[in-house]
């Protein structure tokens, strides 16, 4: 058994929350700059220029990239040989979130009750935390601060297996195009296929963690990704939904086994401020 201190987890989570809010990942920023260079439409060029300038101001002047610093969504891989000393994993993560969002001057956007009270919890906790138990004695934590504008446009379909890749592609394209400017395009599109209704939604979100520019290792799924990027960008929706070549910066499709009678598909989009951070303890 390897022992990890509770306080080391809260410290790491606190730092990740702050850094993710201020600094756009290199791969995302590089892709936005490529999009700007290739964008032929005047309005979209201006918007992409402002988005690039925004990233510069955010990191240099330490102002959050976006005021919606998100729901803090975590994907944790916990080695079976890890023991936490001083408290539980979820408590450590939530305490780290509270400290990070408070110390980093980030927005507390979480309310306690979805229908009735809707009272802000302060400190943006609790986070949404997915935990996988894996072999080994490491603890790896990845944060995806997820803004609501794009999260609200998420979509799930339980397709028939006979609908195949064409059915998947049509559902994904429709969801992205129908969302228009609400997702803050140009977006990164995460797609999950397979599993069950609950598992496929988490898989679509997890697809957003893959670095921009990296295709699925299975060539058939990579082919679907290439097709989707082309089709989505042929829509003309464009940056902010106001027209242009770049509606999607990237599409990542992940799959998992599923029931003989099922073909679940989920779409989870991330705005151009596609923030994330990782740490391994």
């Amino acid at each position: 058994m390897r022992t990890i201190q509770y306080s080391d987890i809260t410290d790491a989570v606190r730092s990740m929350c702050i850094e993710a809010a201020y600094v756009l990942p290199d791969d995302v920023l590089a892709r936005i700059k490529e999009a700007r260079a290739a964008e032929p439409f005047h309005r979209a060029q201006g918007i992409l220029d402002d988005i690039i300038e925004n990233a510069r101001i955010a990191s240099s002047k330490r102002i959050p990239i976006c005021q919606d610093t998100g729901t803090a969504v975590f994907f944790v891989e916990m080695g079976e040989g890890v023991r936490i000393d001083g408290g539980g994993l979820l408590d450590a993560v939530n305490e780290g979130v509270r400290r990070g969002y408070t110390d980093g001057y980030l927005r507390s956007s979480v309310v306690n009750d979805p229908i009735f009270d809707r009272i802000n919890t302060g400190g943006n906790a609790p986070a949404v935390t997915h935990v996988d138990l894996v072999a080994g004695d490491k603890l790896s934590i990845t944060l995806l601060p997820k803004g609501a504008g794009c999260e609200n446009m998420s979509a799930l379909a339980m397709l028939k297996p006979s609908e195949g890749s064409a059915g998947v592609a049509k559902f994904v394209c429709d969801a992205v195009i129908r969302a228009g400017g609400n997702t803050c395009p140009p977006v990164i599109v995460g797609v999950g296929v397979g599993g069950t209704a609950d598992a496929v939604c988490a898989l679509a979100k997890k697809a957003l963690l893959r670095p921009v520019g990296v295709h699925n290792g299975d060539g058939r799924y990579a082919q679907i990704e290439r097709y989707l990027i082309k089709e989505i960008n042929a829509s003309g929706v464009g940056p902010q939904g106001l027209g242009g070549m770049h509606t999607a910066l990237w599409v990542a499709v992940e799959y998992m086994p599923c029931h003989i009678a099922s073909m679940p598909v989920a779409v989870c989009m991330n705005c151009h401020a596609a923030r994330r951070a990782s740490v391994e303890l």
Binding site: P40, F41, H42, R43, A44, G46, I47, D50, I51, E53, N54, A55, I57, A58, K61, R62, I63, P64, I65, C66, Q67, D68, T69, Y105, L106, R107, S108, S109, R118, N120, G122, G147, A148, G149, N152, G180, G181, N182, C184, S235, G236, V237, G238, Q240, G241, L242, G243, G244, M245, C271, H272, A273
Partner: protein, 189 residues
């Protein structure tokens, strides 16, 4: 196609007729005062309007900005302050436009048919700020003050004094809708 140079506007306006020449797609540099309000503040405004009571801010000829900023640091005026999704306010907007004389709304994303109808009827405009450009927008905010509903946290009503806020006319006073027209303009160009 080249775009026209940006048009300068200062809020509050002397009158809404000044908005009539604006067209969907025009770039704007807005200076002066804007008031923030999101879902919770809109809901409270509506309750007051339904009771025939005055609002805590006079919205005639003003601009309402759909924004919930991050908090300021010890040395800054305000934190990140980009727009939120406007369509969540659609249920309140027609009444607010008709009953308060509000001139302009600033947000992101498209609006429903009832909002577009009310915009035409009232000679108002809806302008898009760039969603996700909260740091850039923050750098154009020169002062910030909470006017009311402080207990709502980020959803309180703030008064911002802004300088050269970059916006795009998304729905003009004739009802032209850039979310409809913009993609077509690109595809046909």
């Amino acid at each position: 196609m080249q775009s026209k140079p940006p048009i300068k506007l200062t809020f509050p306006l002397a009158n809404k007729e000044m908005l009539a020449p604006l067209r969907a797609g025009d770039r704007i540099r807005l200076s002066g005062t804007v008031y923030t309000a999101r879902d919770a503040a809109h809901k409270r405004f509506m309750t007051l309007l339904e009771k025939g009571r005055p609002l805590p801010v006079k919205l005639e000829n003003q601009a309402l900005y759909y924004c919930g900023p991050t908090p300021p640091t010890k040395t800054s005026v305000i934190g990140s302050a980009g727009p939120t999704t406007s369509s969540r306010m659609d249920i309140y907007t027609p009444d607010i436009l008709r009953k308060t004389g509000l001139a302009a709304m600033i947000g992101k994303g498209d609006r429903g048919p009832a909002v577009i109808e009310a915009i035409k009827e009232c000679g108002a405009v809806y302008m898009a700020a760039i969603g996700g450009a909260g740091a850039l927008i923050s750098s154009r905010i020169k002062s910030s003050q909470i006017i009311c509903y402080e207990e709502l946290g980020t959803e309180a009503v703030y008064k911002f004094e802004v300088e050269s806020l970059p916006l795009i006319v998304a729905i003009d006073s004739k009802g032209n809708d850039l979310y409809e027209l913009g993609p077509k303009e690109y595809l046909w160009s």
